[in-house]
């Protein structure tokens, strides 16, 4: 989860004059090493039929969980969410569910952007570096897998 990074080498954007006044001289060139600590994505609402896909759990286990919700759990629709690298897996799960239902299931995919926060902690507390945070964006997908209403 953590990876050391030298701020002078990494792609920290220059923040412009708004920040230079409050910072110690030449923060840009400061050789203090920071530890990049990624916070967990913010908590999202979790209903019983929400499935958040990750890359740590076995693919088949996650697929089986979705199948169980749809078949045994009696849900008419479930929502499969994937963030970043897990987007591919979320799509794969949704398509596999659809394929195994012989066309009974429909998919509705929505995309969004999720803001993530990184903490930058100085490696060496004696040096002048101060803890900082940085935000970045990552893409996410939300796939509704549902049985269309018979009409």
């Amino acid at each position: 989860m953590t990876e050391p990074r030298n701020p002078s080498m990494s792609s920290i954007p220059q923040t412009g004059p708004a920040h230079t006044d409050s910072s110690s001289p030449a923060v840009e060139m400061d050789p203090v090493e920071y530890t990049l600590r990624k916070r967990l994505p913010r908590k999202l609402p979790k209903r019983r039929n929400d499935v958040y896909v990750n890359m740590k759990t076995d693919f088949r286990a996650q697929l089986a969980r979705c199948q169980k919700l749809l078949e045994g759990g009696g849900h008419r629709e479930i929502c499969v969410h994937g963030l970043g690298l897990a987007i591919n897996r979320a799509i794969n799960i949704a398509l596999q569910l659809q394929a195994s239902s012989q066309g009974a299931l429909q998919l509705a995919a929505n995309t969004s952007t999720v803001e993530l926060v990184d903490d930058l902690e100085p490696e060496d507390p004696d040096e002048a570096g101060e803890p900082m945070t940085r935000t970045r964006n990552n893409s996410a997908i939300h796939i509704k897998v549902f049985y269309p209403d018979a009409q």
Binding site: N92, A108, S139
Partner: protein, 215 residues
């Protein structure tokens, strides 16, 4: 042998190779120097999975190695009307497709373009892209292997004109308001001391977003 090739070329997840096949060791370890070589890779040119599209629509094919910057420069210039079509019209619609490793990049491109060009309606479709690969055996004379893989793919239509809200995968344009400006301001480095208010804003953002993105 066949399953070994499956193992190395599969995208970690069951695609066309049957899911029950155990992922075997990567080919380099099992076969040493006698690797099969991929000599061709063709993708099926399937029609757009979105109904009712013009044939001459701008189609951005996002690959794993495509640069987001170049894709967006090209698409944004046309959508913002800086570059005109041959018939003098500014572009109304654009389709982004990507498969395999390009899926995440496709979504990122779309999300950025939606922020650059306001008021875009969106329809997203998921499908399997069939990739045909021909592998050549290193031993001369030995037969090669042809295999078909199905990789997950996404196709996203962005349109300035309204689209059918009943279409599965439709997203209305997002009203871009204060939160994004807020995010702009907080981008880059912030001292934690200065960012005291940010947990609250993040919470607020979270609530706003989650209610918007859950269909």
């Amino acid at each position: 042998m066949n399953s070994a090739i499956c193992g190395t070329t599969m995208e970690q997840q069951p695609t066309s190779c049957s899911p029950s096949v155990q992922i075997s060791l990567p080919l380099p370890k099992t076969a040493g120097e006698n690797n099969f070589r991929r000599i061709s890779r063709t993708e099926d040119s399937i029609p757009y999975p979105i109904p009712g599209l013009a044939a001459d629509i701008l189609h951005m094919r996002v690959k794993g190695g495509s640069k987001i910057r170049s894709l967006l420069q090209f698409a944004a210039a046309r959508m913002q009307g800086e570059v005109r079509n041959p018939n003098g019209m500014s572009l109304r619609q654009v389709v982004f497709t990507g498969s395999g490793r390009g899926v995440t990049k496709t979504i990122t491109c779309v999300e950025i373009l939606k922020r650059k060009v306001e008021g875009l309606h969106q329809v997203s479709k998921l499908y399997y892209n069939t990739v045909k690969e021909v592998w050549k055996s290193p031993q001369p004379g030995a037969p090669g292997i042809t295999m078909e893989r199905r990789v997950p793919a996404i196709c996203i239509l962005l349109s300035k004109d309204p689209l059918d809200p009943q279409e599965p995968g439709y997203q209305p344009p997002q009203i871009i308001s204060v939160p994004t400006e807020d995010a702009e301001r907080r981008r880059g480095l912030l001292r934690t001391a200065h960012a005291h208010s940010s947990p609250h804003t993040a919470k607020r953002l979270c609530l706003d977003d989650s209610s918007a993105c859950l269909p």
